[in-house]
Amino acid sequence: MKKHYIKLAALLIIFISLAQTVQSQSKYGQVSGSFQFDGQMYKPDSELGITDSMIDGKTARMNAFGNIIYTLGNFSAGVRYEAYLPPMAGFDSRLEGHGFANRWARYKTGIIDVTVGNFYEQFGTGMIFRAYEEWTLGYDNSVDGVRAIITPMKGMTIKGIWGTQRYFWDQYEKDDRGIIRGGDMDFFLNDLFGVMENSKTKITLGAGMISRYQADQDPIYKLPENVASWSTRMNLSHGGFFWLTEYAHKINDPNAINQFIYKEGQGLFSSVSYSQKGLGIAISGKWIDNMGFKSDRTVTGDALFINFLPPNTKTHSYSLSAMYPYATQPNGEAAIQGTLNYRVPKKSFLGGKYGMGIEVNFAHIRSIEKTAIDADTPIGESGTLGYESKFLSIGNEVYFQDLGFEIDKKINKHFKLIASADMITYNMSVIEGHSGEPNVDAFVWVTDLQYRFKRKHSIRWEMSQLLTKQDQGNWLATTLEYNFAPTWFFAIMDQYNYVNSDGVISFESEDGTLHEKTYKKLHYPTISAGYTKGTTRVLLSYGRQREGILCVGGVCRAVPSSNGFKITITSSF
């Protein structure tokens, strides 16, 4: 037995020293990467309506990826392996499978930087082109092709791309999706013009264009085979003042998102912000008309988007505040958002010994005004120009509104408090597609108290409540978490949907019909624990998870309710 242990120890020593040699010796290059494993066990839960037949024998599901990157001087290459065996509930079932989702190689020399294989890229704010991946959504629209980035002189960047986008595990075959090609240029005027070199005002101008080719084999409509979209943008900054504006335009693109209308699309995004010590203000506005753009005009759902329409809402981190997140409406929306951050100075009346942070946030999103093109054609009729809309017109329907206040204050050496309140209006009919449902008006408050009783040891207690007369009624949530920084944490939490006094939600629809639905008053308890060491993190949780919607950047995924054990392991090297 002892002999085996000695052999094993010797092997381990050799392996470790080799690994260290590879990492430290740049002559042979460097290997780096990251890894994540998300696994979940599902069990039936009669109160949630989860039956054995729904689970269908797939009691364990997982999503995992591994990124390996090799760098040697100007050259780098990598692969990304993914496995969904089968994918976790709520993720698109077309993800099922495993293999090398990405493989790429990149070489930078002098003024040119070339990538072949899969890459992620963005032009400006992404309104005409953004290829990105978001693991928590199961979203990946990487481009498989070639990319060249040329910097002919300081201050000028020119990008060119050509390829096809990822569609789950489908390999590209002739005519099964569109081919995209495009270019973008960025000019940083302060580097290009000597007269501006030392100016405090910094200006960047940019413009981009992207075009999709997809054959027309459709027997009903005459479809444009080459659809182009272009945008121009300007960034201006001066001291603490920053202004970004981008305008985008898309020519006729009848597709499944706009129900095959031939209207052109437009988008405008502008944001202004100012910050100085203790104060920050940001205001942004967005106007979108028919800007849904995909690699395949017939595909629905969250796949194959060529562009990305930025959401204009605050992303909430507390669970009840995040219950009604907004999803960007590519067919048309007008949005405005303002955020004010103020730090009340120390030693003042409100500020106390340590000062206090205040944040006010307001977001309001409505429809755009659409008028019929003539008396015979209803708005949005397929196979026509669809409708007319004046640039920057604002419609009558409210899609979303969020008015919120948050304060964070360190009370004394041991206590820190964060408290927030939000008033949310959520148009369930438009955002979730549940026609006939009334808008949800909700009020959410959260208090988050942290008590540090010893160096590195702290306890956090979070209480929050969501009050609404619509959807599933009221919620109460609480979390108690113990932290041993930075290694361990242990938490118990419960979300209780107490609905209202009798559990019945009712509403009267426009035609006067009374709808009533009874909801069970359910608890969703969970216990979780986590361990972090260096770049590795393990997270375990067990309990009941409520159904919900997870949105990242205006793109959302429905999360079904579930009961069971969950594990997440992440690491990077």
Binding site: S93, R94, I150, P152, M153, M156, I158, G160, D170, R181, G182, G183, M185, M209, I210, S211, Q217, D218, P219, I220, Y221, K222, L223, P224, E225, N226, V227, A228, I251, N252, P254, N255, A256, Q259, F260, Y262, R297, T298, V299, T300, G301, I379, G380, S382, G383, T384, L385, S429, V430, G433, S435, G436, S509, E510, T513
Partner: protein, 275 residues
């Protein structure tokens, strides 16, 4: 300075690659229906609670206008999510045991509307988005008809009997089966529609609704695994009981022969029960 000119020239040249097609109305194609005996089946999965499904039915009707008898549409109301009865507004139950089984076999949890064309599949994926139906149908109609199907039926005291005559126009070398369905047109019942169109259409005309499988959910296997050109086969069926509220004048029989392995429909035919 030279570099700027080089860069700008490169940009202009690359922009020239990016063509764009602006289409002027009228936007509909002038399609000539192909002269062929090949018929294709569109299976449209739907439910009266699915607000986006009427748009799919409109596409199916547009395609029927183009392809007429060469396109046979069957609408399958299935699933707990979109087709379950929801009184007081949507009390009717359109579902069938056969439809539920096809849903779990081919569709799973995919969102509605979704369809299948001749049950063809690409690497195990049978589903086709509604806007790709036209493209797929036009591709499949270019195939040669390998068999011809003839339907004969009689109705007596609420029961259907009849026979399906199959003639082989080319040889078949893999085991196939025959499936016989009953569909009903013009069932007037409520249908959910998007909010922008008023939430509900009380008297929506549901056409081509799958009512039941006459010879079992998966049909019956043909007596032989291989057939030569010119061979024929007749399969009889008898005493299939009509449902209580089915209207005989609106019923049709849909019969198709499909490959047991790939499930692909080789040929399909439809005939009204009462001419």
């Amino acid at each position: 300075m030279k570099r700027i000119y080089f860069a700008l020239m490169a940009m202009i040249i690359s922009v020239a690659f990016l063509a764009c097609d602006k289409i002027d109305g009228p936007y509909k194609e002038e399609v000539v229906k192909p002269e062929t005996n090949k018929k294709v089946m569109l299976e449209d999965y739907t439910g009266h609670l699915c607000p986006n499904c009427p748009a799919a039915h409109e596409i199916a009707h547009d395609l029927k206008d183009i392809y007429e008898d060469n396109l046979i549409i069957v609408v399958v109301h299935a699933g707990n999510y979109f087709a379950r009865p929801e009184p007081p507004e949507y009390p009717y139950d359109f579902r069938t045991p056969a439809g539920e089984e096809y849903l779990s076999t081919f569709v799973g949890l995919a969102g509605f509307p979704i369809g299948m064309i001749n049950r063809t599949n690409e690497e195990g994926n049978y589903l086709v988005d509604k806007d790709a139906w036209g493209t797929k149908i036009s591709q499949l109609l270019e195939e040669d008809p390998e068999i011809s199907v003839e339907i004969n039926s009689t109705l007596e005291s609420g029961k259907i009997s009849g026979e399906i005559n199959i003639e082989f126009l080319s040889s078949i070398s893999q085991q196939a089966s025959l499936q016989i369905w009953i569909t009903e047109d013009s069932i007037i019942k409520p249908q959910k529609v998007p909010s922008s169109e008023g939430d509900i259409i009380e008297e929506y005309q549901h056409d081509h609704v799958l009512r039941g499988a006459v010879n079992g959910t998966w049909g019956e296997a043909l007596s032989q695994a291989t057939y030569e050109t010119g061979n024929t086969e007749t399969i009889k069926f008898s005493n299939f009981q009509l449902g209580d509220d089915w209207v005989a004048e609106k019923l049709s029989i849909v019969a198709f022969v499909y490959d047991n392995d790939s499930k692909k429909v080789i040929q399909v035919e439809k005939k009204k029960l009462i001419e």
